[in-house]
């Protein structure tokens, strides 16, 4: 019983960074900007959050600076994709490498621990809420540990799902944003700036990746280590495709990936039916599932029409 409670709580914990990154991808791609650089933005945000929090002793300052770092990377991507009409996939790859390199180079220079950042004290982290008085109540106790034992960022992530769905479907901004991802010419004809809308989408993606990175290094863990996002940005992209670029299904897909990661963490060295399962196979499970999902064996997905295509005004 306790094991299942922990497994479910862990599922939510592991899903949170994926949900945030997936929503970031959703905003960006719905506006027509393909974002392979989610991973890089998460990584640089994780690094900045952990470093700033270590230096200033406040998780909130870490979070703000992490968002600033992630947004500045997002703006580079925006400039390359919107103004320069460059290849968006190439730009994303560049951002991933830049983030991976910079985090280690700067971390090594600032803290001299080979790219690690110092371990954070509790006040430098977003700690989970605790309700010790509820622990022993039969049904409420386990429910509390599954659903209420998370940090504020986790609840922000969950709340952002309906907010995103509502903003995209029901607001004027959301309608225009989706239009720009489907038919930018029509938006332009209506006298609305395609570039301005796309920049807003890219910045929102930057903010969300900033939250995601900060959660990884200051809530899920208590320091930054190199490559700590471990492909989460790409899994978020896969979840986005699987969810057909919609917010609620994206939540479901991310919970599924989170569950797989949690299972991986819980079954290290476990055996099933007397057969020892090597840990490497459990580690590769989420990636294999991503490939299976992408292969479309579980439904076909249709991306926004104009995604990845730079907009050029006709003369």
């Amino acid at each position: 019983m306790d094991l299942y409670v922990e497994l479910l709580a862990s599922t939510i914990r592991m899903s949170v960074p994926l949900i945030l990154a997936c929503l970031a991808g959703l905003w960006s791609e719905r506006a027509g900007i393909v974002d392979i650089g989610l991973e890089g933005k998460m990584l640089i945000a994780a690094f900045v959050a952990a470093s700033a929090s270590a230096v200033y002793g406040s998780a909130w300052i870490g979070l703000i600076l992490a968002i600033a770092a992630s947004v500045s990377f997002a703006l580079v991507h925006g400039y390359a994709s919107i103004n320069q009409r460059g290849n968006q996939v190439v730009s994303g790859v560049a951002i991933n490498m830049l983030a991976a390199g910079l985090a280690v180079v700067l971390g090594n220079e600032w803290f001299r621990e080979g790219g690690r950042t110092p371990a954070l004290p509790p006040e430098g982290r977003f700690m989970p809420f605790e309700f010790p008085s509820l622990d022993d109540i039969p049904i409420i106790g386990p429910l509390e540990r599954v659903f209420l034992s998370h940090s504020i960022l986790a609840y922000a992530a969950i709340a952002l799902v309906p907010l995103t769905a509502w903003a995209l479907a029901r607001t004027r901004f959301g309608l225009r944003l989706r239009a720009v991802g489907e038919n930018p010419h029509a938006v332009d004809t209506a006298g609305i700036s395609v570039a301005a809308l796309r920049y807003r989408a890219v910045i929102i993606a930057g903010v969300l990746c900033g939250l995601s990175g900060a959660y990884i290094s200051t809530s899920l863990s208590s320091s930054f280590v190199r490559d700590m996002t471990a492909g989460g940005g790409f899994m978020a992209l896969a979840a986005l495709i699987f969810a057909n670029w919609r917010a609620y299904p994206a939540l479901g897909a991310c919970l599924l990936f989170g569950f797989l990661q949690a299972v991986g963490n819980f079954t290290q060295g476990a055996s099933v039916g007397g057969v020892q399962i090597p840990v490497q196979f459990i580690n590769m499970l989420p990636y294999v599932l991503t490939v299976v999902l992408l292969a479309g064996f579980i439904g076909k997905s249709v991306p926004p029409k104009a995604s990845g295509i730079p907009y050029t005004k006709d003369r």
């Binding site: 320069q84 180079v105 080979g114 990636y287």
Partner: protein, 366 residues
């Protein structure tokens, strides 16, 4: 801005503008060095000194460049078909298993048979690891960028498992295979010592460097002198026109990916058969990703790729000397430079072109 496009002389487009982009990437890298409180000019001098200031430096430079020619060609062949293969890292890693399996399994045969077989095995396994994402792209429309990245992660776990459970000799602690004696490609240093009795500077440079040159030539021949190469380039340049010309996109996608993976697989020949002489964890060490920067910089042409690979060879060798001389500058500085090169030579390819064009036309008017 748009009108100026396509009106500049050829040498400006293929020579001057890439050089300007490269210079900007290096200047921004210099700024990063400045931010961490070091002198970029001094850092550059140490790098140059470490890479081209001695025979040993040159040996390492060429050894790194050998790897990057293979991975760069791999990315380029896929690029020509309009595919972005980010999976060179995983393809090369899996190829190492092929090389080691043949090298260890057939060691009772003489080396002139085992070495070519091991090379073929590397290519075959690399090709297989790229073939699956190719098929998924062609038949199921799975985004090749994401599938190849996923295959990198899967390869990382899978090879770790294979080394741990299959290749590691019983009772040995180190997670690596035993020595591959059947397919041992000698380094130039060993050849000089064994056959000529001469001592030369120590470096891992070996005969794979000739394989790299041959591969570059073969890719040029394939792409610009054969029907298949023409079909690959036609598909990449204009998919709908290619279909009207009777080219089957799914077939070309799968073939181009397999060739790409085979080229990435050759990297394992240099590293496993030529340098490590055993299957070790993580031997690819990012060379697959360097291939992306190399291909972009070399404009996906074999000559450009060889030049770009030499430059990255210099950066890698110089970078390790630099981190040795100045521990404040981490080795990962090279990854930063890589990212900046991809940004300025790939995504921001045309950023400085209008300025160059303006300067050029002003000079012409006078």
């Amino acid at each position: 801005m748009m009108q100026a496009r396509g009106e500049l002389p050829h040498w400006v487009d293929v020579g001057l503008i890439p050089l300007i982009n490269l210079a900007v990437a290096l200047i921004v890298s210099g700024l990063v060095v400045l931010i961490i409180g070091e002198n970029p000019l001094e850092a550059m001098w140490i790098m140059l000194q470490g890479a081209v200031g001695s025979l040993k430096g040159w040996g390492y430079l060429l050894y790194y460049a050998t790897n990057f020619v293979f991975t760069g060609l791999a990315v380029a062949v896929a690029f020509h078909a309009g595919l972005f293969n980010i999976g060179g890292e995983g393809q090369a890693y899996m190829a190492g298993v092929g090389a080691a399996a043949v090298g260890l399994g057939l060691e009772f045969l003489p080396w002139p048979i085992v070495i070519p077989l091991a090379i073929l095995a590397s290519m075959a396994v690399g090709a297989f690891w790229a073939w699956i994402p190719g098929v998924l792209q062609a038949k199921r429309g799975s985004h090749i960028v994401i599938t190849t990245i996923m295959f990198n992660f899967i390869a990382a776990s899978l090879v770790g498992y294979l080394i741990n459970y299959w290749f590691r000799p019983v009772g040995k602690m180190a997670v690596e295979s035993r020595e591959i004696t059947g397919a041992y490609i000698m380094s130039f240093r060993e050849v000089a010592r064994e056959f000529f009795g001469v001592r030369i500077a120590s470096s891992p440079l070996n005969f794979s460097v000739f394989l790299a040159i041959a591969a570059a030539f073969a890719v040029w021949y394939l792409l610009w002198r054969t029907k298949l190469g023409y079909e690959i380039r036609a598909l990449g340049a204009n998919p709908s026109a290619a279909v009207y010309a009777g080219i089957r996109p799914d077939r070309i996608i799968v073939i181009a990916m397999a060739i790409s993976g085979a080229l990435a697989g050759l990297m394992a020949v240099n590293e496993i058969l030529g340098v490590q002489h055993r299957l070790v964890l993580g031997f690819v060490g990012g060379a697959g990703f360097v291939g992306i920067a190399v291909a972009l910089m070399g404009r996906s042409h074999p000559v450009g790729i060889v030049l770009a690979a030499l430059l990255f060879g210099l950066l890698y060798q110089g970078g390790s000397e630099l981190s040795f001389a100045k521990p404040e500058i981490n080795r990962d500085m090279v990854v930063v430079i890589q990212g900046l090169v991809i940004l300025f030579m790939g995504a921001l390819e045309y950023a400085f072109r209008p300025w160059v064009a303006a300067l050029f036309f002003r000079a012409e008017e006078k």
